[in-house]
């Protein structure tokens, strides 16, 4: 079986969470792949021979398990599909149905590098146009900050990109650039309105570094270890 066909199969298996071979699941795969039901079983056997899936024949129903390489290839294909689809819809303005069909064809040919560049392009362009176009009512300069955080790599942050909030003093007004707290640590900060692009004023700073900052007509007390997670620039 051609590798492109393998990719289509794996994509369909993951997208439809197919876990066993039953008349139903064969039908689902046939629909997704636009093939006849009779072809599917043979296709799955080929997939097994290529080492992308394992089929457990011992059971009454036949369980399918993706191998490591199968899952990797399938997910990679799905990623490519999503990037292409979002390029077609967001940048080229195609309707989503034909974008999806087109992406199905092109996903097999596109190299990882092409996809990566395309992804970056969508991001850059989105930063400049996409978001502004839709939220024109705001029109604040801080907008790119809001949405796309700062455009630099995490590793660059020591090279002059923003200073730690702890370096500032009472009555300083600063704009938040980013917060660095891992996935869940700064959720509460976000909920309170301390998001990138927002301007805050330091109302109180204690000698240990704890702060009270004014944000969105309320005041929030933040302990030193949280203050150190916030990176800002002076306004």
């Amino acid at each position: 079986m051609e590798i492109t066909e393998c990719e289509d199969y794996l994509e369909a298996i993951i997208n439809n969470s197919v876990e066993e071979i039953t008349p139903d699941s064969l039908k689902i795969l046939a629909d997704a792949l636009n093939k006849d039901v009779s072809e599917i079983e043979g296709g799955l056997n080929d997939l097994r021979d290529e080492g992308f899936i394992r089929i457990n024949d011992a059971d009454a129903y036949r369980e399918i398990k993706l191998t490591h390489s199968g899952r990797k290839l399938g997910e990679c294909t799905i990623k490519k599909h999503l990037v292409l689809e979002s390029f077609f819809t967001e940048i080229l303005g195609m309707d989503s149905d034909s974008a999806s069909k087109e992406a199905c064809v092109l996903e097999h040919g596109a190299s990882p590098d092409t996809i990566k560049r395309l992804k970056n392009y969508i991001r850059e362009r989105g930063a400049r146009h996409g978001f502004h176009a839709r939220d024109a009512h705001e029109g604040h300069e801080g907008h790119e900050g809001h949405m796309f955080n700062h455009p630099h790599h995490r590793g660059d942050r020591d090279e002059g990109m923003g200073r730690n909030l702890s370096e500032f003093d009472e009555d300083d007004a600063v704009k938040i650039l980013f917060t660095d707290g891992g996935s869940r640590r700064t959720d509460r900060l976000c909920d309170m309105g301390l998001i990138p692009g927002e301007t805050i004023t330091i109302k109180r700073k204690l000698s240990n570094g704890a702060m009270v900052v004014a944000i969105k007509s309320s005041e929030v007390g933040i302990s030193p270890e949280i203050v150190r997670l916030v990176f800002v620039e002076k306004v």
């Binding site: 990623k79 839709r134 929030v220 007390g221």
Partner: protein
């Protein structure tokens, strides 16, 4: 016409009683006056329960309006619905399971933008909603003009302006919820990538917008979406270098700001006043905090002892003596006496000490002072492994450990473990009764204060050790400063009364049951046997008389019962006559330190599981005895 509606009603009630009861849920940020609205709507018939299988509390109450039954639920205050802490998770689950028919979203008019942020999330759950703009009186004072009609137009649901403190428009909430509530039309548009992902979810899995969003944030672990969503979320996060939560939060804040700009005029944010500045500065704030907290404790002591004396007096004269005059059969008399004494002890502790304490704490909370104290206390609390917010449960613990333990649930796992140990050591009002009733009365004021000193030193030492040995990261504090407000009697009393009820529900039944058990055991001589068993140890190690061990045992049931029991078993209320000053002092120290009362253990078990509650019990037990043994040795030397 009238017949028709009647028929309809009968049909409905015929099929199921529940369908006739409309479930209304109050949702909103912390400190928006939700509880006051809840109380004005439901009056006094409030039930306190937990979300199934959790320790997150919610209040439910019922009311009848124009022959229709309503059930009203007061959710805990939350800042968002996509958070991972227990309250947020439970409220989200509750809404997802469509357990509420209508939502009453309460917003603070003075902090509209932040409140709209939550409302935008609420909108996504597509439950018919009435928006209540509360605190309009405050907003007017600040010169804020809010266009409620415009907001209603933007959201597509009714908006009601209220001032719960003055009772303004509160009576209109129920009719509006019944007839006018609509799902909110306003939709937050998210970042392109998020929207693209949502579109593809709905196409591939047929999922709705809400589940798509929650799946992207990893909050729907068991759905078919979760796997695909995980891959896409990672992709989005990689592109934005922000978590999905941050992206959504930013979008919602922008939308909230946009709406606020459309409906609110003349926003002049008043910076904190000078008075406020004094409270958060170390040099002035710390002395103020010390004075405030000490004054509170002393007030409780003084008011409490006067009130308690009056209550005890009334019981003795009007209930206990007449009961003896009845000359009932011995067992019945014994049980009745145990019941009366338990009610007496319960009321004697609950109203004079706990309720007075709750009122004072509520005043501190309503003025907004509590959050300032918490901010300042953060540094000190840090040393014992907790952050400033833990000040509130710690101070609450002086009233009763039970609500204090209940209040630690929003902390991180590590902090909860540390707090479990430390709070159970805080001398609650029942222990204050022991210290006041035994040591202050029979030994002296300084002896009584020295017990507090011993306990505080032990709490700090325990905290320092636990900080070193408890696994997990120290999580920082993010705490909203509640605006300084003049406290209002109604609001303060409402808050204190709600807490009081929580206390009565949990503590009183246990107290009554345990007192009866004590009475029966004593009647059948079990207590005498128990006494004989520990007599030797109590005397040689602690220098205490035999009946002291029984009193200590009953101290586990409720702390102040240690004192009551001691008085009963020694046969006199004048303890000074039967025990020496050193004995009384040691008895007080041991019973104050050793094993928390049964209600606290029960709450601890629910909150922290078997391991931690056992550890806390063993630790406090050994701490109590070791301290007692050391003191006894010291007293013998000098």
């Amino acid at each position: 016409m009238a017949d028709k509606t009647d028929d309809k009603k009968r049909d409905k009630s015929g099929s199921s009683d529940k369908s006739d009861t409309l479930k209304l849920a109050l949702i909103g940020n912390l400190n928006v006056g939700k509880s006051l609205i809840f109380n004005s709507l439901t009056g006094i018939g409030v039930e306190i329960s937990n979300f199934p299988g959790t320790t997150v509390g919610m209040y439910t109450g019922s009311l009848v309006h124009k022959d229709k039954h309503y059930e009203i639920i007061d959710f805990p205050g939350v800042y968002s619905l996509d958070g991972v802490n227990e309250e947020e998770t439970e409220v989200r689950k509750f809404l997802l399971e469509k357990k509420a028919d209508r939502l009453i979203a309460v917003l603070d008019s003075t902090r509209l933008e932040r409140n709209l942020y939550l409302l935008l999330q609420v909108a996504e759950f597509k439950i018919p909603t009435v928006v209540v703009l509360n605190m309009t009186d405050e907003a007017e004072k600040q010169g804020l003009v809010i266009d409620g009609d415009k907001l209603s137009e933007i959201l597509g649901c009714p908006v009601l302006k209220t001032a719960a403190i003055e009772g303004r428009n509160i009576d209109k909430i129920i009719p509006l919820a019944e007839n006018g509530a609509k799902t909110i039309d306003a939709v937050t548009r998210y970042d392109d990538h998020v929207e693209a992902a949502l579109r593809s979810f709905s196409k591939v899995n047929g999922s709705d917008r809400l589940s798509g969003l929650l799946a992207l944030e990893g909050l729907l672990p068991d759905s078919d979406l979760s796997e695909t969503a995980g891959v896409i979320a990672a992709e989005i996060e990689d592109q934005h270098r922000m978590s999905v939560h941050q992206i959504l939060a930013a979008n919602r804040h922008n939308e909230a700001k946009r709406i606020k700009c459309l409906i609110e005029k003349d926003e002049k944010f008043k910076p904190s006043r000078n008075f406020d500045r004094l409270l958060t500065r170390t040099s002035t704030g710390v002395p103020i905090m010390t004075v405030v907290l000490l004054t509170t404790l002393i007030c409780v002591f003084i008011i409490g002892s006067v009130l308690e004396e009056a209550i005890v007096e009334i019981f003795e004269t009007f209930l206990i003596q007449p009961m003896y005059a009845l000359s009932l059969p011995p067992l019945a008399e014994n049980i009745l006496y145990s019941l009366l004494i338990a009610v007496e002890a319960g009321l004697g502790i609950a109203f004079p000490y706990v309720f007075v304490f709750y009122i004072l704490i509520s005043v501190l909370e309503d003025t907004g002072y509590m959050t300032r104290a918490a901010f300042l206390a953060d540094r000190a609390m840090h040393n014992i492994g907790m952050h400033g917010q833990a000040l509130i449960p710690m101070v609450l613990g002086f009233g009763c450990n039970v609500p204090a333990i209940m209040a630690i649930k929003q902390f991180s796992e590590r902090e909860r473990v540390i707090a479990s140990f430390l709070i159970t050591m805080v001398p609650c009002s029942a222990r204050t009764v022991i210290i006041a009733g035994i040591v202050f009365t029979f030994v002296g004021l300084f002896a009584a204060l020295s017990i507090y000193l011993i306990v505080f030193v032990l709490i700090i030492l325990t905290g320092i050790v636990l900080t070193k040995v408890t696994p997990g990261d120290q999580f920082g504090m993010i705490l909203e400063m509640v605006p300084m407000r003049k406290p209002r009697a109604k609001q303060t009393l409402t808050r204190a009364w709600l807490r009081m009820k929580e206390f009565l529900f949990i503590a009183m039944p246990l107290l009554l049951a345990s007192s009866v058990v004590l009475g029966i055991l004593q009647f059948f001589g079990v207590i005498a046997a128990f006494q004989n068993l520990f007599e030797g140890f109590m005397y040689s190690a602690l220098g205490l008389p035999d009946y002291a061990s029984t009193s200590l045992l009953f101290g586990i049931l409720r702390k102040e019962m240690a004192f009551e029991t001691l008085a009963i078993l020694s046969g006199t209320a004048n303890l000074g006559a039967v025990m020496s000053a050193a004995q009384l002092y040691i008895f007080a120290v041991v019973s104050v330190l050793f094993v928390p009362c049964i209600s606290t253990i029960a709450v601890l078990y629910r909150q922290m599981g078997l391991k931690i509650s056992l550890a806390v019990c063993c630790y406090t037990l050994s701490l109590g005895f070791v301290t007692g043994i050391i003191l006894n040795a010291l007293f013998n030397i000098f």
